[in-house]
Amino acid sequence: MAKLRAIVISGNGVNCEMEMAHANRLAGVDDVRIASIYDLLSGDVRLDDYQLLNMPGGFQDGDDLGSSKAAANRYQHAHAQGADEPIQDQLRRFIDDGKCIIGVCNGFQLLIKLGLLPAIDGKYFQQQATLTFNDRGRFEDRWVRLVVDEQSPCVFTKGMHQLELPVRHGEGKIVPADDQVLSAVKERHLAPIRYADAEGNPTQDYPANPNGSIDAIAALCDESGRVFGVMPHPEAFVHRTNHPRWTREELPEEGAGLAIFRNAVKYLKDNF
């Protein structure tokens, strides 16, 4: 392919854009652009010019109406200046063109509320699940053990088995719309990452499962595996010194979260 170009969307309370861009660069993206949502609204920046879309964590609009609700409303209804389509139509083309999207934490909340995840039967833009308040009713920053579903079609988690990452959220509990959605997620392996106990088994027990998420789900992907949302922060573990026990364990120099971005880069370089 030509140059692999990634875009990281910032603004309005997004706050992980710097480390997200850093992770993209470390993973081998050739050109990383941090662009504000206002650059999209002004029409100066178009998603069409990129292959990897990053929706980082933060508190868009303060999560005042529920996490990412006001932000989703903006993607759905606000038009870029001079364009006759809402911003979300750019997202639709992005998916149709076979590109990759990653949403972390608040970015995942945005994707799920826009209906991009899990998008069972390819029904994008119909909300099928949500992320809501942790059962404990409070924001928490803690590292969790995660187990990867190796049968998932998710391109971001290929070849991964287990890892540790921090969660930093108050609204991370996944609730599917109904049992059909949940069984489809399970059968089609659309939950590539689950919260796990010390033995590596998915768990509902706090604090290993920090929010009470149904079926211990920590991440979702669509059926193509190219749209991926994850509550724990892979961009927060790109160097061993990020890990909470790095002073007492032998860890590789590279943090385990980076593999997620490397996978996306590999997929895009192979397919574009």
Binding site: G13, C16, F59, D64, N73
Partner: protein
């Protein structure tokens, strides 16, 4: 007509807020409730038709997967409940949810609401529980709402008609005030002048009121005023208010500038101002001593201190207090505290990118069961409110909270202390000029950026310059809006790099009067056009507009040629920017409303006209007798009780709720060890992700020691901060300090009969700061004093213990050399580094036993700094596996924490503890275990490093006291045998139980 949209969780979903509220009613108010359900209410004050209302309700306001909504009727069936409490905001109070709901409505409907059309948020709490009328009133007033900022409605559930719900009430600000300006006659008697100062919350003394009067008696002044068309012989209300703000203790630091006669043992020493004599002087001396190695770049002159980080970046740091607002409204006070201090580094030099926050709180014990004096809140409520305020302020701004602590003492009931700090990174060069410089040229435009101005936060600077009293103004309380501020800072960082502005500063205490008043000193004058200032609502008088401390605003000086591009990007990024004046070299601070001049103050009088104070201090050390120590019968029980003490126990409840990792640079987190729950000594943070260079942040404070001698309080604060930094690997020769004094009123008066003693304590604290910092080679780069931390009402006076927080920032060349405090492996050797002395005065051990006595720890600064350099050498050489500062509770606590954080056992021989000239047998077990001597660490090393480690540190200053073990037993013994054996799990449980909410 206004409409109500109510949003609830579907019955089969968890209502986390409802469950949390029910828990707090039970736990905090001891009232029995079955359960609570909540509803989010949006009161939409706009002309919308039924379809549009439904589009909003079903769109941005409701999550269809888990929520339901109702329009103009009750979303919750009242029948299973007993009570309904609905809590909303008072008119004019910042309503972040309402603001976002309004924006979302405009986006959803594709049109802009008319000015004044709005959306307001409120929350319903439906309560099932057998509560009396008084009980439910308590739930509303003591838990759910604060009457200073919120309103509430209580209804028996049976009286709510579900088909109608509650009526829609729009909290609109009345437009009672016309923009009129009064002039004020100061030709009054002394007692009338004093009464006027008090009634107007001017916080001016009689001498200051007279100085103002004299200014207006000056014939030259009168002639000039007459020619400008101002009342010639008296101030306008605008002028008097501006002078009161500018001359307030909060802004002018009059006590630190005062001439002091300090009397001790009959000898009187004259001190020409504490700030120049000690703080400024120590920094000058340290910088001179460092010579070419001086790393200070900007000290005391700007909103924050600046030191060199590397060739490309400077490190900017500031710590502020927000005590008085937090006393009245803990949530809003702390939230504005943190977003307020964010604007200090942001308003330093050309503007720093914000990298980390720190928070330190001083509260009364949360389990307080004695009566609460009028206007004060229960300490648990203060604790929870402050915690949540800092959580929202930090987390929503995307700034990690990396370091902090909480200190408890009964006297903080009178005023809690809320210290908020922020560090930032400033490019060494911005557009070819040094990043920490800024200038203003006559003709530059004075521009206000960010939020709008309302009546919130009026008189903040003067209010915090007085004791908390019956008529303290409620308008001083406000709520911050981190998202509006984030939008503003996102935009301004771009504007900075474009070089569109010349000067930037914060709009904090004193509002525009203070920010533009200070800026005008750069070029010698300004004109302000108050009618141009964008308002939240009509009805503000001109002096209010000038003084309002409404949040989320910066003031800038912009050359006219850059205004267009600046303004156009601001608009594009949804940030309000307005030209509100112009800088000039007239020598005057002139204020206009429309065509009319309403204030004109000579810059020299405004800034230098305040009469200097002259104060007397007298030091008489408290007479304390050496208490008799009881023999300890059960060491295990004592150790567990000590670990569970409020000032020692785990603060994980608070730390977990702060994002301490956002921005990706975390190296040493606040919680460390095998299970991520050990108490870290300091934060290590990489602000530049492509570099391994790290910032170290730590602090020290020990208000208890002031009960014996504030000299030791101050010296130990500095030493503790330095120890903490050195423990994680900071270079002791590359540290900078920030001093934050929080004192009780030290000015002798009828209300403060012990003012001379309190002032002597302040003098001694400053002497200690000078001596310790000079010995350690630590420049103070910034600081703040808050001098009126007293409560006075109905004859009850509560004064906080004299407190100085010392914050340290430093550097670690390679983050991979950082050390954490947890024991690492069985077989590692345990060392105590630094000498233990019999120093139990004001210790946690005495407090546990209810004892008082002399003998606070003495800081042997010359010995200590030498030791710290050696320890740093050992850390750099990779000899140290764990290192833990030894402070509150002494060695026994530090050893236990080291063991259980590592999930490993430990055997310790206390008779091996190094004690210097005093040999160990002359100290009792209790003294060895719990003495709080300064300058000590608990260190573990690999057995094979023994020789090299001992050689590096020097054998006379360390003792190998034991070994880390693979079992879970924590064992203390001495040469007479074993006296304590307990599992680390039991110790950790005792340490964690106290604040496990």
């Amino acid at each position: 007509m206004a409409h109500r949209i109510e949003v609830v969780f579907q019955p089969n979903q968890v209502d986390a807020l409802g469950e949390k509220t029910a828990g707090r009613i039970r736990h905090d108010l001891h009232l029995a409730v079955d359960h609570v359900r909540t509803a989010q209410v949006y009161t939409v004050d706009a002309d919308l038709n039924a379809d549009e209302l439904r589009d909003l309700a079903s769109g941005p306001y409701t999550d269809p997967i888990i929520q339901d909504y109702a329009i103009d009727k009750s979303a919750i069936d009242p029948s299973p409940f007993d009570w309904l409490i609905e809590v909303g905001f008072l008119p004019g109070v910042t309503d972040n949810v309402g603001r976002t709901a309004r924006e979302a409505a405009q986006v959803r409907l594709g049109r802009t609401f008319d000015e004044g059309r709005s959306v307001h948020s409120s929350i319903q709490y439906w309560i099932k529980g057998d509560l009396s009328d008084e009980d439910v009133e308590r739930v509303a007033s003591e838990l759910l709402a604060n009457k200073l900022i919120q309103r509430w409605t209580i209804r028996p559930a049976s009286q709510v008609d579900p088909a109608v719900g509650l009526p829609a009430v729009v909290p609109k600000v009345g437009t009672q005030d016309e923009p009129v300006v009064d002039s004020i006659n100061l030709e009054l008697k002394n007692d009338e002048l004093i009464a006027m100062s008090r009634e107007m919350t001017l916080a001016l003394s009689l001498a200051e009121m007279k100085a103002i009067r004299n200014h207006y008696r000056d014939k030259k002044v009168q002639l000039k005023r007459a020619s400008k068309g101002l009342p010639f012989d008296r101030p306008s209300d605008v002028e008097l208010e501006v002078l009161a703000q500018t001359w307030s203790e909060h802004c002018k630091h009059k006590i630190f500038a005062a001439k002091i006669a300090y009397e001790y043992e009959g000898i009187v020493e004259t001190i020409e101002g504490l700030f120049p004599t000690y703080i400024k002087a120590l920094t000058a001396k340290v910088r001179k001593n460092k010579g070419r190695k001086d790393y200070c770049q900007s000290v005391f002159t700007d909103n924050a201190g600046v030191i060199k980080f590397n060739d490309d970046f400077s490190l900017v740091m500031k710590v502020e207090t927000h005590n008085s607002p937090s006393a009245l409204d803990p949530y809003g006070g702390a939230l504005t505290g943190i977003v307020g201090v964010n604007r200090d580094p942001f308003g330093t030099g050309q503007g720093a990118k914000l990298c980390f926050n720190t928070d330190v709180f001083c509260f009364a014990p949360p389990d307080w069961d004695k009566p609460i004096p009028p206007r004060l809140l229960h300490p648990k409520r203060v604790f929870d409110g402050v915690r949540e305020g800092v959580e929202h302020g930090g987390n929503k701004s995307g700034i990690p909270t990396v370091n902090g602590s909480i200190v408890f003492d009964d006297r903080f009931l009178g005023k809690p202390l809320v210290f908020c700090g922020t560090g930032g990174l400033l490019p060494a060069k911005v557009n070819g000029k040094s990043g920490w410089d800024k200038t203003i040229k006559p003709g530059d435009m004075a521009v206000m950026v960010g939020g709008r101005v309302g009546a919130d936060g009026i008189h903040g600077a003067t209010f915090s310059s007085e004791e908390l009293r019956e008529d303290s103004p409620a308008t001083a309380v406000q709520i911050g809006d981190p998202i509006t501020q984030k939008r503003m800072t996102d935009f301004l960082l771009i504007a900075r790099d474009k070089g569109w502005y010349r000067f930037i500063t914060d709009n904090g205490a004193g509002g525009l009067a203070s920010s533009i008043g200070e800026m005008a000193r750069e070029c010698g004058g300004c004109e302000i056009y108050l009618d141009k200032v964008p308002l939240k609502y009509h009805g503000l008088r001109p002096w209010m507009i000038l003084l309002s401390e409404s949040q989320e605003r910066m003031s800038l000086a912009i050359p006219p040629e850059h205004w267009e591009e600046f303004h156009s990007l601001a608009k594009r990024m949804d940030v309000e920017a307005t030209v509100v004046g112009k800088f000039a070299e007239t020598g005057d601070f002139d204020v206009f409303f429309g065509e009319k001049i309403i204030a004109s103050l000579p810059m020299t009088f405004l800034h230098d006209g305040v009469p200097a104070m002259s104060l007397h201090a007298k030091w008489e050390p408290p007479q304390l007798a050496e208490p008799t120590l009881p023999a300890t019968s059960d060491w295990t029980a004592l150790l567990k009780r000590m670990l569970g003490r409020l000032n020692i126990c785990s603060k994980e409840y608070v730390v977990r709720q702060y994002d301490h990792e956002v921005q990706g640079g975390s190296v040493v987190k606040p919680l460390v060890g095998a299970h991520h729950d050990g108490p870290s000594d300091a934060a290590v943070w990489r602000p530049i992700l492509t570099s391994m260079e790290a910032v170290v942040v730590s602090h020290g404070l020990c208000p208890r020691y002031s009960d014996v001698d504030a000299y030791d309080m101050s010296a130990n604060s500095v030493d503790e901060a330095v120890r903490n930094a050195v423990a994680v690997g900071a270079d002791p020769d590359y540290l900078a300090g920030l001093d934050n004094f929080c004192w009780c009123d030290p000015v002798q008066s009828e209300n403060t009969p012990d003012g001379e003693y309190k002032l002597a304590q302040l003098v001694r604290a400053n002497k200690a700061l000078f001596n310790t910092c000079v010995a350690y080679g630590i420049p103070c780069i910034s600081g703040k004093d808050s001098m009126k931390n007293d409560y006075l009402m109905e004859g009850v006076k509560i004064s906080v213990p004299p407190t100085m927080l010392f914050t340290v920032v430093g550097k670690l060349e390679d983050a991979r050399k950082a050390v954490t405090m947890d024991a690492k492996s069985p077989g590692d050797l345990v060392y105590v580094v630094g000498l233990t002395r019999a120093e139990l005065g004001a210790s946690e051990y005495y407090a546990e036993l209810g004892l008082e006595g002399p003998g606070t720890p003495e800081v042997h600064y010359d010995d200590n700094i030498e030791l710290y350099r050696k320890l740093h050498e050992a850390i750099k050489n990779g000899l140290v596996r764990s290192c833990h500062d030894c402070s509150d509770g002494g060695l026994a606590i530090a050893l236990a924490e080291t063991a259980f954080a590592g999930d490993l056992g430990m055997r310790v021989d206390l008779s091996k503890v190094p004690t210097g000239a005093d040999s160990a047998w002359r100290l009792s077990r209790e003294q060895l275990a719990f003495s709080e001597s300064a300058g000590r660490f608990v260190v573990t090393i690999r057995p094979e490093s023994k020789a090299e480690f001992e050689k590096t540190i020097g054998r006379e200053r360390l003792g190998c006291v034991g070994e880390v073990s693979g079992d879970k037993d924590f064992v203390l013994h001495d040469n007479t045998g074993e006296f304590c054996r307990v599992t680390i799990d039991e110790l950790k449980a005792a340490w964690q139980a106290t604040l496990d909410y």
